[in-house]
């Protein structure tokens, strides 16, 4: 099961750390407990390096999370990915969004440019 830590820093940035297995088995709970009501102020950092296993539900959760965050704050960054997420990203060619720290809005416009 996933371990999710949301830390609000003194400089109004938020640090979200996800570790363990982020799969459909805990997706519902994770969403309801941590993300549905999430409020962020300014920058958000995603620390995903310790995700040991991820499936499509888990990735959807991350996408949803990033949407929530980008609607509220100015920017976000993915600090670390970990092997499981990297593999998934490679297969589905989502590297632009996870690896290159691109903005989630790039996913919706279908543009080929990267924003950072």
């Amino acid at each position: 099961m996933a371990e999710i830590k949301v830390i609000q820093k003194r400089d109004n940035s938020t640090e979200i750390t996800i570790s363990g297995e982020l799969t459909i088995y805990c997706a519902m709970e994770a969403f309801q407990q941590h993300f549905q009501q999430l409020k962020v102020k300014e920058k958000t950092l995603f620390k995903l390096g310790n995700i040991s296993e991820i499936d499509t539900a888990g990735v959807q959760l991350l996408v949803m999370l990033m949407k929530i965050v980008s609607e509220q704050s100015s920017s976000y960054r993915v600090v670390s990915l970990g092997e499981a997420l990297t593999d998934y990203s490679n297969l589905f060619q989502l590297n632009r969004y996870f690896v290159d720290f691109a903005d989630i809005s790039a996913l919706t416009s279908g543009s080929e440019e990267d924003k950072s």
Binding site: T56, M64, Q93, L107, G110
Partner: protein, 743 residues
């Protein structure tokens, strides 16, 4: 799971494929040939090869591989399909059938099979290629592939497939994670590009973490076949929208896809371009064309729908589009029509038996309820009868099979026989949809084969003779089936020489069947053909004329409660008509009694019933004059030597001494006769129970039945009885003549 069981499945499947190949080849032989047929025949060979491989049946794999290659070249238009090739493929198919029937070990031990192998492979040589071709199956979505278009997709489409996935939101819940099968897909080739579409993501409050929102557009570079790629998604097909466009897809196919998908067109266009499945240029051209259309009158219409666009630009497309749509619907309905299951025939027979018992039971209840005057009960019993009849009819219909299948098999026989005889024969089939009892279909195979061979061998003349007679060199042979009265009629007719009456007469005299001065009607003459040991062929050919054919035919037909009639005209042709009851299992009958024994007369044979008291026997013979027609009759009690029970005798004595007797007049084919009985008990529907082997020799009885009151009733075999009546009449004629002469 034993290996045997799986082998059985392989065998059955291979047989079906081989049959399909034969049908295709027959059509091609007659001149029909289209891409779809070539595809089908290729696929059949391909499947057989594949399955055989699983079981290590190398002899099948090796041979079929070459055949498959040739068929592949044929469907790719690399080689022409001419009569020679079709002939060779025919032989190859037959050989494949022999190969499928033996194991690898058996094959290795049979040198003649191996010889045929090499002979045929040599015969195929002119058409085989030495390249190792990889198969890329055709696009099998008709509507898309048949559309005309001017714009070709300029994208790099070397083995580039486009796959559009809009999967059911429940996929993740059901354990079908795209992660697994996209990973699998990538093992089939290289995923050049995959776009993950998140347009369907809901607002935060509506987000269900267990539902699937992602959609995908994928460009896959792969040598795999359409089937292999399709199979990747076989488990997620339900409730999903999956489109696979092969490398050969045209721009119109992409336009259709864009139109079909829910997202906005421009966006979809962008996605497809991103995938590399479409070039920016082709897309722009198509979209520009989409936005303005100049009609024939020179007006400009803005942004018509995509479908209209295609039809406007290419009038031809319209008919192709609708044809393609009809075909698609046809394919769909064929798929649902073809929904069949295999049933063990024993189970079906068991079911029908039980229903038979049910019918008898229902009749018993009906009888008993008649004694109880309760309107509600009567009504309920009536309903019961109604439903029982429906169940009975439904069950019987399960036994019904269209005769088309049997007829179809004759195409091959006719073709091969014509070749052997050096004659030209055209076979027409009428009434292939006519249904009859499954048992009958099985038993008719041999009789029909005999008659057909006979017609081709003796009936139809050689090409020269036909020309001389001013006939078309192609002999006409017709197999027809239709319903008439309560019967099925199967007619085999030819436009040949007709039956040579003189020859028959000579032969019959030679064999001592008739006397030199016997006077016989044409009909009686023709029927001599059915006499055992009879044959008019000057030589016993391989095909027919061995003298064992026709009488067996007659017996087989009669075993099915049927009759066979012949008509013929010299120089014009002949017709054999086989009449059969609709079903052997349940009979609509007329219940009669003679001296206390119950009989059932099949209703379909009954013309009328009259009371004998009003008619006089003619000159002491069992014959009456009915409106000018002489009708011989049989006395039930005499024929079967019935002795009444004690009760019956008492009852008789009580009534009167001149029993009012009833005469049931029946007909079969063109013969008419009467059956004299004591009482008529009315219509009855009942289950036929076949007679045990001891009674088989008993002429005149075709089966038995259990009546509602528990009594057994004998079902009369009318044709046999009529024959009996006529024979008796002839015999008594002869004996009277003799007694007059020999005085």
């Amino acid at each position: 799971m034993s290996l045997d069981a799986v082998l059985q499945t392989f065998y059955i499947e291979a047989q079906e494929h081989l049959e399909s190949m034969e049908n295709m080849l027959l059509k091609m032989d007659e001149g029909e040939c289209d891409d779809e047929m070539l595809n089908d025949i290729f696929r059949s060979a391909h499947t057989i090869k594949g399955s055989a491989g699983i079981f290590g049946l190398d002899h099948i794999v090796n041979f079929t591989h070459v055949v498959e290659n040739v068929l592949d070249r044929a469907r790719d238009n690399e080689i022409d399909i001419d009569k020679n090739l079709i002939d060779v493929i025919f032989k190859c198919r037959d050989h494949m059938q022999s190969l499928v029937a033996v194991s690898l070990d058996e094959y290795n031990a049979q040198t003649d099979l191996q010889k045929t192998d090499s002979d045929l492979l040599a015969a195929l040589a002119p058409w085989t290629s030495t390249e190792n071709k990889q198969t890329v199956a055709q696009n099998n979505t008709p509507a898309e592939s048949q559309l005309d278009n001017k714009l070709t997709n300029e994208g790099d489409n070397e083995n580039l497939w486009h796959i559009s996935l809009r999967l059911s939101t429940d996929c993740l819940r059901n354990g079908m994670d795209p992660l697994s099968f996209i990973k699998f897909l990538s093992s089939l080739g290289e995923i050049k590009h995959i776009e993950t579409i998140i347009d369907n993501f809901p607002q935060v409050d509506n987000f269900d973490a267990e539902s699937l929102y992602f959609a995908y557009e994928i460009a896959l570079q792969s040598d795999a076949s359409l089937e292999e790629i399709e199979n990747t998604f076989m488990f997620v097909q339900d409730d999903s929208d999956i489109t696979i466009l092969p490398p050969t897809a045209k721009i119109d196919d992409y336009l259709l896809l864009i139109d079909k998908l829910p997202e906005e067109n421009q966006r979809l266009g962008d996605i497809l371009v991103n995938c590399g499945s479409l070039t920016r240029h082709s897309l722009e051209q198509a979209l520009i064309a989409q936005s303005t259309v100049i009609t024939a009158t020179g007006e400009q219409t803005v942004t018509p729908k995509l479908g209209e666009l295609l039809t406007e630009q290419n009038k031809v497309s319209e008919s192709i589009v609708s044809a393609a749509l009809t075909k698609q619907k046809q394919n769909k309905s064929q798929v649902s029509e073809g929904k069949q299951i295999r049933i063990d025939s024993n189970r079906l027979d068991h079911l029908i038996n039980l229903i038979g018992e049910l019918v008898i039971n229902q009749q018993r209840i009906e009888l008993l309820s008649k004694g109880v005057k309760k309107p509600q009960l009567t009504e309920a019993v009536d309903d019961f009868e109604n439903f029982t009849n429906q169940i009975r009819d439904a069950a019987l219909s399960l036994r019904m099979v269209a005769i088309g299948g049997t007829f179809q098999r004759f195409k091959r026989l006719v073709r091969d026989t014509a070749q052997e005889l050096g004659k030209e024969v055209e076979l027409t089939i009428d009434g292939a949809d006519t249904e009859l009892d499954r048992l009958m279909v099985e038993k008719l195979g041999d009789p029909l084969t005999h008659i057909v061979r006979n017609a081709m061998d003796h009936g139809l003349e050689s090409i020269e003779d036909r020309q001389a007679a001013g006939k078309n060199t192609k002999g006409q042979l017709k197999l027809a089936a239709y319903h008439e009265g309560g019967h099925i009629v199967i007619a085999i007719s030819d436009d040949g020489n007709g039956i040579n009456k003189e020859r028959i007469r000579e032969k019959a005299i030679e064999k001592g069947i008739i006397n030199t001065d016997s006077k016989l009607s044409d009909n009686e003459l023709f029927h001599l053909i059915f006499h055992p040991g009879f044959s008019t062929a000057a030589e016993v050919t391989n095909l027919s004329g061995r003298g064992v054919g026709m009488d067996v035919v007659k017996r087989n037909v009669e075993a099915l409660q049927g009759s066979i009639d012949i008509s013929s005209q010299a120089g014009k042709g002949s017709e054999f008509k086989i009449r059969l009851p609709l079903t052997l299992a349940i009979i609509d009958g007329f219940h009669v009694e003679a001296k206390g024994t119950h009989f059932i007369i099949p209703q379909a044979t009954i013309i009328e019933c009259i009371n004998l008291a009003n008619h006089q026997d003619i000159k002491g013979r069992h014959c009456i004059n009915l409106r000018g027609e002489m009708i011989p009759y049989l006395n039930m009690s005499e024929i079967f030597k019935l002795t009444p029970s004690r009760e019956q005798t008492l009852a008789d004595n009580i009534i009167q001494h001149s029993p009012k007797r009833e005469l049931v007049i029946v007909q079969f084919g063109s013969d008419v006769a009467g059956i004299a009985v004591d009482t008529l008990n009315g219509e009855i529907q009942t289950v036929v129970k076949p007679l045990g082997p001891i009674f088989k020799a008993l002429k005149g009885i075709g089966g038995s039945s259990l009546l509602g009151n528990g009594e057994i009733a004998f079902i009369l075999d009318v044709p046999q009885l009529i024959e009996l009546a006529i024979a008796n009449e002839i015999a008594s004629k002869v004996s009277r003549a003799e007694s007059m002469n020999g005085q």
